[in-house]
């Protein structure tokens, strides 16, 4: 079975002006979105109190919200966790006026959660508390800086590897595309205001890993074709490489998407954010492998002589540049 015509020769590089322009627009739009709308940071980042409440009978979000407002909790964020019987309630500890803050700012999670459960039970006696979390605000700040450091570490590590294994231009093109992928993924998350928690952060870092995979496969083909070709016209070589690997690029994306889709639909609320981010990242990463990475490479001026093995005397060495 074949879905893709193996003789396809779509002039991807021919549309490079448009594709790069679109990529740039998307990046700018993403930065603007992240700057203005911001990411909807979850409990892991903002700190605060979060509870998961289970009802034996279906419940409306508005019902829960009304019960909390009646109890004096106006600022609590109520979200459905998929299904109709499970909700998550997120709030800042200072919102619960019944709890006196101690001088040291220590939070009495037990008191807050029993207060909230009391309010909910007053409206609906079938509410039960499934889990409760308290995260201090300093923890979130640390997570943000850790995440940023990890992302930088990945980019630099990948850049160094590609620089050694391939060539400088490949390293730069790959990392530039990576930055694009991460920004656009974050931009989409900001646009739809999906909660950004720890698992989503992990997912964004995993997106970097996934999309670099895609780029390396194309780059590998570019290197191979450059070495084989007698008369190497860079644009033609790049285009042929993308077309040759097109089937693999799309099939792998589909396969990975299938597993992430399975996780999204039945993995439960804990990993749903992870799966969604991954799906967005796979889409963005796949498109950028086809439309963005190679044009940058062409623009940086990749040529045959940069990719020829240094020595041809030893065939072992020739295979491993």
């Amino acid at each position: 079975m074949e879905i893709f015509n193996h003789n396809s020769n779509i002039p991807f590089l021919g549309m490079r002006k448009y594709s790069i322009a679109i990529a740039l627009c998307l990046m700018i739009a993403s930065i603007a979105l992240i700057a203005t709308k911001g990411l909807n940071y979850g409990l892991d980042f903002t700190g605060g109190v979060s509870m998961v409440v289970d009802y034996t009978q279906p419940v409306q979000i508005s019902e829960v919200r009304a019960a909390l407002t009646k109890g004096g909790l106006d600022n609590a964020v109520v979200q459905s966790l998929g299904g109709t019987r499970e909700v998550s309630i997120r709030m800042q500890p200072k919102d619960d006026k019944g709890v006196k803050q101690t001088a040291s700012g220590k939070v009495n999670l037990d008191k807050i959660s029993s207060d909230v459960l009391g309010m909910l039970r007053a409206a609906r006696p079938d509410a039960t508390l499934k889990s409760r979390d308290y995260v201090g605000s300093e923890v979130g700040a640390e997570l943000k800086s850790d995440g940023t450091i990890a992302a930088l570490f990945v980019m630099l590590g990948i850049m160094a590897y590609l620089w050694i294994r391939f060539e400088r231009r490949f390293a730069i093109a790959a990392v530039a595309t990576e930055v694009h992928d991460v920004l656009v993924t974050l931009g989409i998350i900001a646009l739809v205001q999906r909660e950004f928690d720890m698992t989503v952060l992990a997912s964004v870092l995993a997106v970097i890993g996934y999309s670099i995979n895609d780029k390396v496969v194309v780059f590998d083909r570019i290197r191979e074709l450059f070495r084989l070709a007698r008369k190497a016209e860079p644009e033609e070589i790049l285009n042929r490489s993308i077309n040759n690997t097109l089937s693999r690029t799309i099939i792998t994306s589909l396969f990975t998407s299938i597993t992430m889709g399975a996780m999204y639909f039945i993995g439960g609320p804990v990993v749903r954010g992870f799966a969604v981010t991954m799906l967005i990242g796979i889409l963005v990463g796949t498109l950028s492998s086809i439309f963005v990475a190679s044009p940058i490479l062409l623009w940086l001026g990749v040529s045959k002589k940069d990719l020829m093995p240094v020595t041809r005397d030893n065939p072992e060495l020739a295979r491993r540049p």
């Binding site: 079975m1 193996h6 998961v52 289970d54 220590k106 999670l109 037990d110 508390l129 499934k130 889990s131 979390d133 308290y134 995260v135 201090g136 923890v139 640390e142 997570l143 850790d146 995440g147 990890a150 990945v154 590590g157 990948i158 590897y161 590609l162 294994r165 720890m198 698992t199 952060l201 992990a202 997912s203 870092l205 995993a206 890993g209 996934y210 670099i212 995979n213 390396v216 496969v217 590998d220 040759n244 693999r248 099939i251 792998t252 589909l254 396969f255 990975t256 998407s257 299938i258 597993t259 992430m260 399975a262 996780m263 039945i266 993995g267 439960g268 804990v270 990993v271 992870f274 799966a275």
Partner: protein
Amino acid sequence: MSDFPRWKYALVALVMLFGIVYALPNAFIPVPAVQVTANRGAAPINEALRQKVVAGLAKAKVVAGEVVVDGDHLLATFANTDVQKSGSDAIKSVLGDGYTIAFKLQSTVPGWLRAIGARSMPLGLDLQGGVHFLMQVDQNDVVDKQESSYADDIRALLRQKNIRYESVSRKAARGQGITVILRSEADRTAASNDIANEYIDLNVTNGPSTGDRYVLNVTVKPEKLRALALGTIKQNLGTLRNRINALGVSEPLIQQQGENHIVVDLAGVQDPAEAKKLIGTVATLQYRPGIGYAGDAQAREAASSGNIPPDANLYYMRGSHLPVLVSKRIIVTGNELVNASSGTDQQSGTPEVSVTLNATGARKMLDFTNANVGKPMAVVYVERVTETKMVDGKEVRTPKITESVINDATIQSPFGKQFQTTGLGSQKEASDLALLLKGGAFAAPVDIVEERVIGPSLGQDNIDKGLKAVSLGLVLVLLAAALYYKLFGLVADIALFFNLVILVAVMSLIGVTLTMPGIAGIVLTLGMAIDANVLICERVREELRNGSTPHASIRAGYEKAWATILDANVTHLIAALALTTMGTGAIKGFGVTLMIGILTSLFTSVTLTHAFTALIHGHRKLKTLSV
């Protein structure tokens, strides 16, 4: 003909066998159990005690799976966590105090598997329920104490050297050091030299002088502060471990995270209140005059008859459990202790503990020891825990104070600020004592900055959903691959399945804790592991299209795809590595899973599929390939 060497077939077969055997323990679901261990002094665990427990359970109408004596503890298994809870209550009421009763998940892995080191993956809190704390160690307290103590020391030193000073005071901001104001330039130089000579951990610099005020700035060296911070964390980890063991959680996870955080994961605990109280326990220390020595006739007499002299308390030694009489008078308390460290006595070469007191403590100690040379002195360790019990629906709080003597020794000569306790049995005893002394002195300056309580039903829910997600993801990819690449797809399917098996086996062997993000990592690995096979299959197709023979196509396909697969996986590995460097447990778990997954998939999708392909196509003449 096939060019696949024999030894590689053997390797593939071995790895497959390894995967199956070491992944197998995860198929045995552990059962909820209650573990009973005897405390010091209580009747040992034996058959009689087992009978008692069985009778108690029967009386409370709790159905237990089996009740067995296993070495020094007793195990009772139950059908589910609800029964486990009532079983534990029943056992508690039968046995009373003197026994530690802990919840446990008892492994059902057969003995022959355990004998070869195969075990199931431990489950994270999000999969089995429990309490998670992240604690921040308050270093300020330590800095405060250290700076105040140095200020005292400098005052004493200046007095001793007859250097006149106007004031010695700590700066307003914490950690900024001490300001010494002197009357003349000459005094300042003398003071500066003396301080620098006496205390190598201090930096001394001249400050701006106005009129007849000559300022000297003294700061504690950063490396000393860092060493102190490190010591505080270690100290707190040790104290927490001791206390949580008393809580009776069978496998608590207590470890340092980052520079000043401590993670405590208590699986199976549902009520964080009790745990929090234990963590917040305040321990204090008292140096008191001893009356006789541990285990002497007077103490034994008092212990057996109950006739305790009115001015004394009867305590027991920690460890040896010998009775000892101690005067009620307190000489100094832990608050006056600055430092305690273990070392070796210069003269006798035996282990010793060196203790440093602050100025007020030193004065009191000197007064007492001057008058009491040759008499005993004891160190009493006091722990105060508030226990909360529900009686008739009301909370009843009872403070529980445990006091024990951690050391008693004879005063050899008068001493004040610094003294040594010598004649300790071993280096370990010395370091334990130093740790306890510090534990009593630094009243656990920890703050809980994160607290998560995961109900057991949520844990079971997550396991079910995670399992379903893994199986559905796997089945869909298996189907898609078989449809798209036919026979080669089926071979890739075998590889993918074994990738899952070997991944689980490696994770179990290393002892990676399985969490929800870890499951996400497994699912992602499954999706990406097929990538190598897609690369190979596409290459083989290409070679066929270019007119190569089937066998040549297979060989070229594997050879040419290998370079690409390697590059793609190494870059991916770099990304996974970065994830594991993150301090946070959840992301780390995901990263570790991803990393192991990338490595196992390299083997399964390349070597394992090559072996199967060679086995299928190797000895036949081929016209076409099913790819």
